[in-house]
């Protein structure tokens, strides 16, 4: 017998009441505190980005040898975070994993916001960001001068923009029945008008439901390959290059699994807080958290295997540059980042073999943060330590982030949490219509 997916007996009305509650009431002190901190971080980020665009990329710690460091590390980190949302909403839908219903709305929101944060970096890391539109293959008058379809950066442009659009559409379509519910419950005329427009004339008829569910499945089918493709293509930024440590065929699966790993960690971080703060323990249960923890355990172990595989291949290849790159990762001046990475990503998830830990939200919360730190360092290790010592020792160099880089990274957290906190105030944080399908009332 599987445990019930939500605890206690709730009627459908209670469920609607519970979940729509935050939309009606004024936010509490906790929300305001969080929102102000997030907003301050966002303001810092916006200010620093403006400064950097005005003065130049030189405000970052990069140099002639290390052309990417914090910027692309953050980009890959945020794209990776996004993966959990799509995985939960699309793949688990196709596999009919009912437990996803309570968490998919917020996980998808996380995806959207994470991709937004990620998209900031390719834009601002350009020397001349005001010309960023040149990376789009739009019809123009420049004759032969078009985009370079051989460049992985261009593939990135397509991959990320497709991913963002599909995720956004999927998320929005998934919200329509709930928006209609909110519309019907809202009294304030302006709010009601907005929800009316957003719910697109939802009438709840059988015909509507039938078409709606088909559309959801189609979108899930569309989104599923994206889970794999986006990070595959992001990994090709490195895999197709000649730099030892980047030039590796293992990268596509390794990046995808790493992304799922980090994404689920971020989901844990968010849900542990959300369920507590918003009193949704009934709907986002320990069972949910445990399921997520199991995914983290599996993906974390795959990531660990990938690390070992990389080391083995470096040794087995007999390529001196490759061997040096990995030796340098572990024993070079940035060896400490490798140590952090291994501790956070390989050792930490192994604690999740214990059911006690899997079912204790506080420990899960700490673990999830550790995993996310580890995954950030993984990208930093791959990107920076490969670049800082490549072929010609004469150009070997060191890197130290500047205040502007760190501040911009903090700024993206500001953007993420600002968006997330606004989200929990205006949109039902749990897909009510989906959860209703699995409450005792209508199910089994």
């Amino acid at each position: 017998m599987r445990p019930a997916l939500i605890t206690g007996k709730v009627t459908l009305n209670e469920l609607t009441q519970d979940i729509c509650q935050p939309l009606k009431t004024k936010p509490g002190a906790g929300w305001w505190a969080g929102f102000l901190v997030a907003l301050a971080a966002l303001a810092l980020g916006v200010g620093l980005v403006a400064y950097q665009i005005k003065v130049g990329i030189g405000t970052w710690g990069l140099n002639k040898t290390i052309g990417w460091a914090f910027d692309i590390t953050n980009f890959v980190f945020w794209v990776g975070i996004g993966h959990a949302g799509t995985l939960i909403s699309a793949i688990l839908l196709l596999f009919r994993q009912k437990w996803r219903t309570s968490i998919n709305r917020s996980a998808e929101a996380m995806t959207i916001f994470a991709v937004m944060c990620a998209a900031v970096f390719p834009l601002i890391h350009m020397g001349r960001p005001w010309l960023a539109f040149w990376v789009f293959p739009y019809p123009n008058t420049r004759g032969d001068l078009w985009v370079n379809f051989r460049s992985p950066l261009l593939w990135d442009v397509f991959a990320i923009s497709t991913y963002f659009i599909v995720s956004l559409v999927f998320w929005y379509i998934g919200m329509i029945p709930d928006l209609a519910t909110v519309r019907d419950r809202t009294v304030a005329p302006l709010k009601k008008a907005i929800y009316r427009v957003l719910s697109m004339g939802w009438d709840g008829s059988h015909r509507t439901w039938s078409r709606y569910e088909i559309l959801c499945l189609i979108l899930a089918g569309l989104a599923t390959p994206l889970v794999v493709s986006v990070h595959t293509i992001v990994s090709m930024d490195f895999a197709t290059s000649v730099i030892p440590g980047w030039h590796t065929t293992i990268f596509p699966p390794y990046f995808v699994v790493g992304a799922v790993f980090s994404g689920f960690a971020m989901v844990t971080t968010l849900l542990v807080i959300t369920r507590k703060v918003m009193g949704l323990e009934k709907y986002i249960t320990i069972t949910h958290l445990e399921a997520i923890a199991k995914v983290i355990l599996v993906t974390g172990s795959i990531v660990g295997t990938a690390y070992l595989t990389e080391l083995f291949i470096a040794w087995y290849s007999g390529n001196a540059y490759e061997q040096f790159a990995f030796k340098n990762r572990i024993t070079g001046p940035y060896g400490w980042t490798y140590a952090i990475m291994v501790f956070c990503n390989v050792i930490t998830p192994q604690f999740l073999w214990s059911k006690k830990i899997r079912t204790t939200p506080a420990i899960l919360f700490v673990l999830s943060i550790v995993v996310n730190i580890g995954m950030w360092f993984e990208r930093f290790v791959i990107i920076m330590t490969s670049l800082h010592r490549d072929f010609l020792p004469s150009s070997w160099s060191m890197y130290k982030p500047t205040f502007v880089e760190v501040g911009t990274f903090i700024g993206t957290f500001g953007l993420f949490f600002t968006c997330f906190l606004l989200f929990v105030r205006v949109i039902p944080v749990i897909a009510m219509w989906e959860v209703k399908s699995i409450t005792g009332g209508s199910h089994e």
């Binding site: 130049g56 370079n148 290059s241 150009s395």
Partner: protein
Amino acid sequence: MSEKKYWKGPEELHGDPSFIEKKKQEFPEELPVFYQKEDLKLSASRRDFLKILGFSFAGSALAACTRMPVEKAIPYLVKPEEVTPGVANWYASACGGCAASCGILAKTRDGRPIKVEGNPEASLFGGGLCAVGQAHILSLYDDERLKGPLWQGQSVSWEKIDQEIKAKLAGAGRVILLTQTLTSSATRALIDEWKKQNPSLKGQWQLDAVTYEPMSLSALREACEKHFGVRVVPHYRLEESDVVLGLNCDFLGTWLSPVEFASAYSKRRRVRENNKENFLKHIQIETSLSLTGSNADQRIPIKPSEEAAVALAVLNELMKLAGQSSLSALPHSINAADIQSIAQQLWKHRGRSLVISGSQQIETQSFVLAINSLLGNIGTTVDLDNPSQQNQGDDRAVEEALKDMESGRVAAVIFYGTNPVYSHPEPERWIAVLKKVWSISLSDRLDETASLATAVCPDHHALESWNDAEPVAHHVVFQQPVIRPLRESRQAQESFLKWMGYEGNYYQYLKEYARSRYFSQQSGFLSFDAFWDHSIQQGVFETSESARKNYSFQGSLSEVVEQAKSQKALWALGMEVSFYEKIGVRDGRGANNPWLQELPDPVSKVSWDNYACVSPAQAKKMGLGEGDVVRLKDIEIPVHIQPGQAAGAISVAVGYGRTHVGRAGNGVGVNVSRLRSVHGGVVMSAGSVSLEKAGRTVELACTQLHHSMEGRDIVREVSLVDLAKASHEDHGKKEKLITLWDEKDKEGHAWSMAVDLTNCIGCSACVIGCQAENNVPVVGKDEVRRQREMHWIRIDRYFNGPEDNPQTVYQPMMCQHCGNAPCETVCPVLATVHSSDGLNQQVYNRCVGTRYCANNCPYKVRRFNWFDYAHNDSFNYNMNSDLGNMVLNPDIVVRMRGVMEKCSLCVQRIQEGKLAAKREGGPLKDGDIKLACEQSCPSQAIVFGDLKDPKSRISKLNQDKRHYHVLEELNVQPIVGYFSKVSERSSGGHS
């Protein structure tokens, strides 16, 4: 009204049909264009007209949209005869960078000089030019140059100041003229004339000309006088030597005439011309690892206190070989076997060997002269009859003059090209003297001395001056101005003539001098004017040298040994220290030249600073780390841990710590002149000093942080013996690598370049040559610390072997123009693409700055514009001033921030060469296109050419067994190749 008919000429009056035909055309006379008529098939149809109309309309509309500042170019209303806009003129002149006085060609565009290069006609110098010479063009456009004369700090007119000075000098009495080295014979004649002049005025006129050089060769001159009776600096004949022993002498880098020596050195070590039999063997014994020492086949580090003892030991060994009784020995640290082997090699090549020392210890110089004399080198490789005039500094005379000034026996002092308040070991004495003695400075800026002088009469820049130079007797180089003076300055000689009361200007004086002195020595020209025009045009005039004689060695050597024994006091203060010049800044004259400040020292790779070189063993012993500040007497200076530095001695560079030179040079490094001791009237190049830790650390601006090749196959080295044995196959592994890409067919040309690592001495002339040619910006110390220097060509320097005395190799590294370029595939916007003739091109205005290309470059030669380096107050160097921007090459765009840049293989020069060949209607000849780095190389290590031309030098060189590509296993197929370094090093190979 009757109609009068006006006619221009008989053709019109008689109605000549060809005239009538011409008259119908819009421009009856031929238009003054540079290109031949065939190139200008000017025909415009209505469609063309509409196209152009449309384009100009759209263009002006677009131009109106941008925020670019409007900069109006003003065309010539009346065009000077020899100026064609867009076409460069070249003028021969003489370099003013240092007293070596190399022949140069100055390139002017639209009337302004933009680049100087070596003059191939000047056979002495071989056609190359050093970094300092190439950079001295930037000093022409230095904002800090005075706008006009100053009298007691106030701006006055030349008439006014001449009146004042003439009045003062007339009643003066004894006047000291403290000059820099005067290679100009005409100037020396002028000063002699001035000396003799009796202005028939009251007071006793006595003019004493004293030559002051901060890094003089006084000891050498004095030793020559003592032992051979001639007070000269000999002319060293490196090209005629088979073995050269350098004893603390950086003759390839900074000593006496580096371009000449580098050229001769490379000629004798050019294996690619089958020069294997008489390959010049080079042994260096020195304190600091100099550029010269780093190239030696055998190098032995010694403390400066051992210098005389080592010279004596070699001498003793040679005396044994010569069957003479040897002198009593002095203690030193070199093992006897090494001394023996050195002596044997020298002895074997008697008369074709050479020992050079840059030491300021007279005893060392005496021993060295004795060695050369014993070897029969005097009159062969050591030429006393055609001496070098390139360093005439006379420390003893300066000391006497200073004493006279202190004791009030001098009324006035004139500083011409000298700045003792900055460079003398005892500046406070000069400051005190300048308070009581009336003084004139001819400095072009308000430098340390000029700011204390009564009058400042700024001299022209060398490129604004007329002059002659005779760097080595019978080798004359003419200097002609290539631009009208930019400021209200006046050439020093012109000022002297004014004060002498001479009618006429220095040009006339010089011409008269040339007529009397040079014209008579030749027979090729009957009229002086033809001779003059020819000489000025060529820039060089050479007459047959005087016969070289052997001089017999005079004086007792055992006395010298006794003297050497008694020099202990010099080394008593704790740490031994030697003073040297850095390649770029040299003695500090050009300290306001940001190109030179940013030029990394070839050995230490540190720019924008001087530092105390400490040997690794010494640093370990004293617990010193890189950048730790130490206190030498009362001067605080950071430590640089220098492999190859002699243990027990440190080395510091002079020329830094200027306070009154300008915004680029003020406060860069510290002035260590005060640490130099004056010993027997000679300013020593070594001594001793107390040393203690200051307890803080600074970061040096070093462009290379890692010094080992890590066992990688980057610089290949082969000994002469192995080279002879090696076959094609076992020399370079030419594996056939497969590729996924289609073979690109090259159209027209297939450019290629090769760098011979045997001949590259690392002097970095190419770095500055490239910087001048390609408008490479200066980024400053902070940015260099962040590893963001912009040089398109860099000199990679690797050490191998033991840390206390490593072997050094240099490798110029620039864009390799890969056939399968990793940078090209990754750019999302096609901002870097391949040309049909094999160049990897960077399209600046398409670049959005993702830096992916730089990340993916295996050679890391791409440079990113992290900021706007032009017109930006944060980078207050030459590109931030309108005057400084005059040096920019108009063929090259100045890159804005956010774009990537890199070596283009001087694509503008390739285009120019192709156009010239097309205009002349013939095929492009091998060697017609010379890239900036290739042209500047004093040792001719770089060859560029077309692989499609089977007879070109490069085609042949690419077949050579020493030819290889760096990282060829990556199969990126570069078109820039290298030649393995050939040397006679005992244990070659990789680290």
